[in-house]
């Protein structure tokens, strides 16, 4: 007793001696900025060790035993932007906080989910989370992104898909995986991003502009894939889901589990497996279009207010069949296929995947850490090692079909260091450095001439971005980035090509080995690129209409395919050549965005205009003779282009139960040197959706209509070709460039939400795509000559969140 009393007294004396008083309570209510609804499970962290709280079901939070002084609060929530606030505490304090949220998936059942989310300022950013993420759990990344207006998909068959944004794809669209740029041979038009969508909880798209932090070369946009932040409490939560579809008779399963501790330590495991057999078009099976994919990832780390670290590993591998009928020998085979009403090779349904096919894996090992120098200055460091392997199997003679015709191993190390700081309440800055070291190895054991040569690539970049945000009505962004890129490639050239391209004059000094019919050249190239961004966000006083305006300047060095490509593309019956003389692309873009994101009628209009010099694209050059007959040759060239267009979005909430949305996009792209349209530009398209929700919000029904118009603006690449017809050589005009007719597709889905135990829920979703089994051809599918697109598909989805 005496000891305790003495200790207590000592404590009080010590307190008053130190002049610091503790025992104060900070509390308040956290609500949504737009409509005042309480935000549940928001995490309020303070800079005082061990003092934090989580908001309850009414949005209230209590932090006890705080010491007087300047308190920095960091308020975060899985579905909101993290906010930082500073207060001077010298008594019990009541402090309400408004957060901007867009999906409150933990509380309400089927939500009015706002597909758009303004994260930062002058360029519109879109988010796919919650229910839309669930709908996408059986799809590819590109298909999931199609939910955002203005995003289309470039396909090679059904399952290989890459996003096209503002008419740009491939290396012009950056994918960032948990803060690290994905390095996975994105230069190949027939190579889909190597990742499983279920490894992430959020997909964010910065449409039409590069996020300078990750690169200055992505004029199409940046896709950020991230997991949600881990709560700082003792908890175990996860999600398991299953998709089963009729078309392809397959599906996937995915599960993830996170264990978090109040100390800030956490571990997360995630795995998924997907398998499909042959898909079918309305009237026939698409032979050899099955696929198999598996993904495993783990993260563990310690996240505290002042510092933290994280390490992770993931492996994604897949096998993808390519329509058997698309593997042809020469141009005449392609023409026969084009004229045939059904694919020239069909067979009954099977899960077997044989040649032609793609197999690959992507492995990522990373470590990152952060610490705060002061409460408003944060330093971030990360390192990643990515390995990407791509094998393509063709139909070959002498049992060689089991040997890949292309086997490339890409290894990339990347290092990032950045510092973010705030000046006062209005200014925030970030500066950083990054370095990339990349090595490509093209295995000669394939017995086929390398499509892409062995190379080493060194890259170093630095950036600086700043934001001025004095209130919720105005934000100004400015940023700049500088990169240098060095290529060191060793490539075997055919003597005939070396001479035809005139490389003997310009690159004679690069020849390392001169064999009779081939020579080995060591090509070294250096590119210096800069990028910049200046933008403004203005929200009118009544917080009704937001206006965004940005000027984005991007520069992109040519990629490995554009410089070095050298080979036959079987399914396209073309020979492709790279071009060593390409310069970097320089792009000037103006992006506008006006809209109202409140109330029952929301709308958004986003026009853009881009002028690019030295825009790299592939164009036909004529015919060459090969042992298989004459082949069209395509080569990478540069031209000046003008691309403009607009995306519009409308959301009309009739009443609590019905909602109508529409997303429409149009692009106009012109090659200014030849005054012809650009190739592979998405046509005008419009998607309309009607959503109905039952009064108890347990059922949701959606009906969608997609209209894709015929693309009338395309480069007329018709060419004359001598065909042997009925005993005569006739010159015929071959037209492979005219786009197919437009089409309309209807889809429907019904979601049933079962269970309301706080954050545990069980969702059943039945989806039907192309419910009228429409037969259509998609201009953006490079294999469109061989078959119709997929027919009707019914799909069952079971999702369990716990």
């Amino acid at each position: 007793m005496f000891v305790r009393g003495g200790t207590l007294m000592f404590f009080f004396i010590a307190q008053s001696l130190s002049g610091q008083q503790c025992g104060f309570t900070l509390s308040g209510k956290i609500t949504d900025l737009h409509d005042g609804t309480p935000i549940v499970d928001a995490l309020v962290m303070t800079n005082q060790e061990g003092k934090f709280a989580q908001s309850d079901e009414d949005g209230n939070y209590f932090i006890r035993n705080l010491c007087a002084g300047k308190i920095t609060l960091e308020i975060s929530h899985v579905a909101c932007e993290t906010q930082t606030k500073s207060i001077a505490l010298n008594s019990h304090f009541y402090f309400n906080i408004d957060l901007e949220h867009h999906i409150n998936s933990l509380d309400e059942i089927v939500v009015v989910d706002h597909r758009k989310k303004e994260l930062s300022e002058s360029v519109q950013q879109f988010q796919i989370e919650g229910a839309d993420m669930e709908r996408s759990s059986g799809e590819s990344l590109a298909t999931a992104l199609e939910r955002i207006s203005g995003v289309s998909t470039l396909k090679t068959g059904n399952a290989i898909a890459k996003p096209i944004i503002h008419g740009m794809f491939g290396s012009r669209v950056g994918i960032v995986n948990n803060g690290i740029r994905l390095q996975d041979q994105e230069w190949g038009a027939d190579h889909a991003p190597s990742l499983d969508i279920n490894a992430f909880e959020s997909i964010q798209l910065i449409k039409g502009a590069a996020a300078l932090k990750y690169g200055g070369d992505t004029a199409g946009g940046t896709i950020l894939l991230s997991p949600f932040s881990i709560p700082v409490k003792d908890t175990l939560y996860g999600r398991s889901l299953m998709n089963a579809a009729t078309n392809g008779r397959g599906g996937n399963v995915a599960t993830q589990l996170t264990r978090a501790y109040v100390s800030g330590f956490f571990m997360k495991f995630q795995g998924s497996y997907q398998q499909f057999g042959d898909f079918h078009a309305p009237d026939y099976e698409l032979l050899n279009t099955g696929l198999k994919a598996a993904n495993l990832s783990m993260r563990l780390g310690l996240h505290r207010f002042n510092s933290g670290w994280e390490i992770g590993f993931s492996r994604y591998q897949n096998t993808q069949g390519i329509l058997r009928a698309s593997h042809i020998g020469n141009l005449e085979d392609l023409l026969n296929a084009l004229e045939a009403p059904v694919p020239l090779r069909t067979a009954p349904f099977s899960y077997a995947i044989g040649a032609p096919k793609q197999e690959g894996f992507h492995q990522n090992l990373y470590a990152s850490g952060y610490f705060r120098l002061t409460t408003t200055t944060k330093i971030n460091l990360d390192y990643s090692f990515q390995t990407n392997n791509r094998q393509e199997f063709d139909i070959r003679r002498s049992g060689l079909s089991d040997l890949p015709a292309i086997d490339m191993m890409l290894k990339t190390h990347s290092w990032n260091a950045s510092i973010a700081w705030k000046e006062g309440m209005n200014w925030s800055f970030e500066a950083g450095l990054n370095a990339v070291l990349q090595d490509n190895f093209s295995d000669p054991a394939t017995g086929v001439k390398r499509l892409i040569p062995d190379y080493l690539k060194y890259q170093a970049g630095s950036y600086f971005v700043s934001t001025y945000k004095p209130n919720n009505q105005l934000a100004v962004n400015a940023g700049i980035r500088l990169d240098v890129q060095l290529w060191d490639a060793q490539k075997y050239y055919n003597r005939s090509d070396w001479l035809d391209q005139g490389y003997d004059q310009d690159y004679a000094q690069s020849v390392v080995l001169d064999l009779s019919s081939q020579l080995l050249a060591n090509i070294e190239k250096r590119f210096l690129t800069t990028a910049a961004h200046a933008g403004l966000l203005l929200i009118s006083k009544e917080k009704e209409i937001s206006n965004r305006f940005s000027y984005v300047h991007t520069q992109r060095a040519p990629n490995a395919s554009e410089l070095f490509s050298d080979g036959l593309h079987h399914s396209l019956a073309t020979v492709e050549y790279g071009n060593l003389r390409l310069n970097k692309e320089i792009s000037h873009k103006l992006i506008f965005d006006v809209g109202r994101d409140k109330n029952t009628f929301r709308w958004n209009i986003a026009p853009y205009f881009a002028y690019t010099t030295d825009f790299i694209f592939i164009a036909p050059q004529g015919l060459i003779q090969t042992v298989r007959g004459a082949f069209p040759v395509w080569k990478y060239e540069a031209t000046d282009t003008r691309i403009f267009g607009g995306d519009t979005s409308i959301e009309w909430q009739f009443n609590k139960h019905f909602r109508l949305t529409n997303d429409t996009a149009y692009i106009h792209a012109q090659d200014l040197n030849s005054q012809t349209p650009l190739i592979s530009i998405p046509p005008f398209n419009s998607k309309t959706q009607l959503v109905a929700v039952t009064p108890n919000q347990k059922w949701e029904w959606r009906l969608s209509h997609l209209w894709v118009a015929q693309q009338h603006r395309f480069p007329d690449d018709r060419f004359d070709f001598p065909l042997l017809v009925n005993g005569q050589i006739q010159t015929q005009q071959i037209d492979l460039s005219t786009p197919p007719k437009g089409y309309q597709l209807f889809s429907m889905d019904i979601s049933i939400f079962l269970g309301k135990l706080h954050s545990k829920n069980f969702i059943v979703r039945m989806m039907g795509n192309n419910i009228f089994n429409t037969a259509y051809i998609d201009y953006l599918n490079r294999l469109r000559y061989y078959s119709f697109e997929k027919g009707r598909n019914f799909h069952l989805q079971l999702i369990f969140n716990y």
Binding site: L302, G329, V448, Q625, G727
Partner: protein, 190 residues
């Protein structure tokens, strides 16, 4: 928790240093690819009824040229020729590879065919031809019968891989993928 952190800090650093050196700053010189399946040469051997033979060659090595070099075929009117075809890989002129043997070994997966311009030459099967497992002729050896008039034209020789049908009157009847499509000009003299 802290102790675990300290324990793994050092090994992580070592692991990363090893990984970095997986990519050396200098690369080995890449090996030249040995392309086994390339076909550069089509040789036709034509023997008439008297036993006189001629050999013509179509050759294209893409590494060296984009233009094939072709020998013209000179035929007599009203004559039957036994024609045999041979496919070769002469990418390395010092080491020619015969591809025909592979074709014979995979007879079910291959088909040779000929299409002529005009109707001066008619094609028929030869008893010395290679057949596949279903007794379909491969046309590696065939009979060409010339007409009565003088004329000229072109013969296209196809090598078809994995044909969808093993019989037909024209290239499209066979389906499959074209591995060779080589044109020879011919002349029929009286």
């Amino acid at each position: 928790m802290k102790s675990i952190l300290l324990l793994i800090r050092k090994p992580i650093f070592i692991v990363f240093s090893i990984l970095i050196f997986q990519i050396s700053c200098e690369k080995e010189m890449p090996e030249l690819v040995n392309e086994e399946e390339v076909i550069t040469t089509v040789v036709l051997n034509l023997i008439d009824e008297t036993g006189a033979s001629q050999s013509v060659r179509w050759f294209l090595n893409p590494a060296v040229s984009n233009q094939a070099s072709v020998d013209p075929i000179v035929l007599k009117a009203n004559t039957k020729y036994t024609v045999s075809v041979n496919f070769l890989n002469e990418s390395d002129p010092t080491n020619p590879q015969t591809i025909t043997a592979d074709i014979v070994a995979e007879a079910d997966d291959h088909q040779v065919f000929y299409e002529f311009t005009g109707n001066a030459i008619s094609l028929s099967t030869s008893s010395s031809d290679t057949v596949d497992s279903e007794n379909n002729p491969l046309y590696l050896t065939s009979i060409w019968s010339t007409g009565t008039e003088a004329s000229s034209g072109q013969v296209r020789i196809y090598l078809i891989h994995l044909p969808t049908s093993k019989s037909g009157q024209s290239r499209t009847d066979f389906g499959g993928e074209t591995d060779v499509s080589a044109d020879f000009p011919f002349q029929i003299r009286l």
